[in-house]
Amino acid sequence: MSKLSYISPEGLRIDGRRSNEIRRLNMRMGVLNRADGSSYYEQGNTKITVAIYGPHESTTQKSLFDRASIKCEFAMSSFSTSERKVKSRFDKTAYETSTLIKQAFESTVLTHLFPRSQIDIYVQVLQSDGGLKSAAINAVTLAMIDAGIPMRDYVCACSATFIEGSALMDLNHMEERSGGADLLLSIHPQLGGVISINMESKVPQEMFESVLDMALAGCKKIYYLLQEQVKKHSKDLMSNQLVG
């Protein structure tokens, strides 16, 4: 591939964003009728819908006697990527993302309140333009809140990388394929705890600090937007009752 410069001299990226900006977010809650909680999450061109069933009677035997068990399934629709490839739900990347989501929410949801019950999370990717893992985690957070499942705090995730000497936030597909260091950070914004850090490629020590800070700032920004959306959604719900 010809040496595509990821950052133009004035500091703008390929899609016109500056290095510390996230893609446009567009979210809705309560999209599906039959699910207990559902959300539609759009970050740039990555579009995801999440449905949550639960906590309900656990069907399989692996129900835990003292807390709820969380099951997650991640599926990509065949028209999600540019070239059409039928991806079954059982390939490696799908499993990897679903376990990541499962672990993130096992530490967040107050599962001890529902012994011997089960929470099912179903993530469906409608269109993918990079940043799938972080978008999925944010979408599941919204769906959990819509389902009224008690949680310690939001789970906000953001990806960051280090290309051509500067740290960039919230990567799209092309930046992800650029081969730079790809870091995914998910945190509890208010309690301040870090839930998971995934970094695949090697990065010098000092660079790591700046990439981490960029990811942290990204998560905070996303948290602010998520909260904004939840408040707006709650106000809509209550508006009928309030105005009376």
Binding site: V31, L32, N33, R34, A35, D36, S38, N45, K47, T49, V50, A51, Y53, H56, T59, E73, A75, S77, S78, F79, S80, T81, S82, E83, R84, V86, R89, D120, Y122, Q124, L126, Q127
Partner: protein, 282 residues
């Protein structure tokens, strides 16, 4: 909530309701629930549509690529259908659960849309024998509230209406190689003629009456189901019966007549909606 399974008395109540032509939600036997249709929502796809029929929520995306045509039909493009009931529709579709339903839905669509040569596949051919368009029509069932067959076919027809294929110019290169350029300016887009594309009308027998567009709970007390493809010219483009019970010959003729009637009604209303969408998105 797990798929509602009904108690015998509820099933009896619904059957009585269908008997004197007043269903639980007030509809008569041949009434369709109001549904919402939106087209052109997925930017990656050449054509897409979204249909919400009460609780059923389906998203259809069409992608296209160019390849050598099937040697048996050198001057025709190809259509491939695939349906994916994702578990968000109901926990039952998790893991392998949805395989049979997906195949049945996809095969029914193929039988109605493809075998009845409703689409002029010749239009999809760029150069007979050498290059033609292959359309991959993928549907996702996000939420299932009964009557998947009809909603799917309406969604696919709307998505086909919304399809815009870049025009291709063929230039005769030297020593008989052929090169062609893809022009992607939005104006010179080639759209498909969906006039002949049929839609499904599913009639379900409950007791000894038959109903159209049955909801999730009515499907629980279904004896038999007949899905009939109808196109604008009033021809029958594909019939498939489902469900356990049998149907006697006389009812079948009536069902086909009713399907023709309801089908043409839906097609008429659908085409005006597509026209305004077309004007809106111009």
């Amino acid at each position: 909530m797990v798929i509602q399974s009904l108690s015998p008395s509820e099933i009896y109540f619904i059957q009585q309701g269908v008997e004197n032509n007043l269903r639980n939600d007030g509809r008569t036997r041949l009434d369709y629930r109001p549904f919402e249709l939106d087209i052109g929502e997925i930017s990656h796809a050449v054509g897409s549509s979204r249909i919400i029929l009460a609780d059923t929520h389906i998203l259809v995306g069409i992608k296209a690529d160019i390849s050598a045509p099937d040697p048996l039909t050198p001057n025709k493009g190809s259509l491939t259908f695939s349906v994916d009931c994702c578990p968000s529709a109901s926990p039952e579709y998790e893991g392998k659960g949805a395989d049979y339903i997906n195949i049945e839905l996809a095969k029914q669509l193929e039988r109605v849309m493809k075998d009845s040569n409703s689409m002029d596949l010749g239009g999809l051919c760029i150069m007979p024998g050498k290059y033609c368009w292959n359309l991959y029509i993928d549907a996702i069932v996000l939420d299932s509230g009964g009557n998947l067959f009809d909603a799917l076919s309406i969604g696919v027809r709307a998505a086909l209406a919304n399809t815009r294929l870049p025009t291709i110019r063929i230039t005769q290169g030297e020593y008989s190689t052929v090169d062609f350029e893809v022009s992607d300016d939005p104006e010179a887009m080639q759209s498909l003629d969906i006039d002949g594309v049929p839609i499904n009308v599913t009639l379900t027998t409950i007791g000894n009456q038959f109903v159209v567009d049955c909801s999730g709970e009515e499907e629980q007390c279904m004896d038999a189901r007949m899905t009939i493809g109808v196109n604008k010219r009033g021809n029958i483009c594909g019939i498939q019966k489902g469900g356990v019970a049998g149907i006697d010959a006389h009812t079948i003729n009536q069902m086909i007549l009713a399907a023709k009637q309801v089908g043409s009604e839906i097609l008429k209303t659908m085409d005006n909606v597509l026209k305004d969408h077309h004007i809106a998105t111009k």
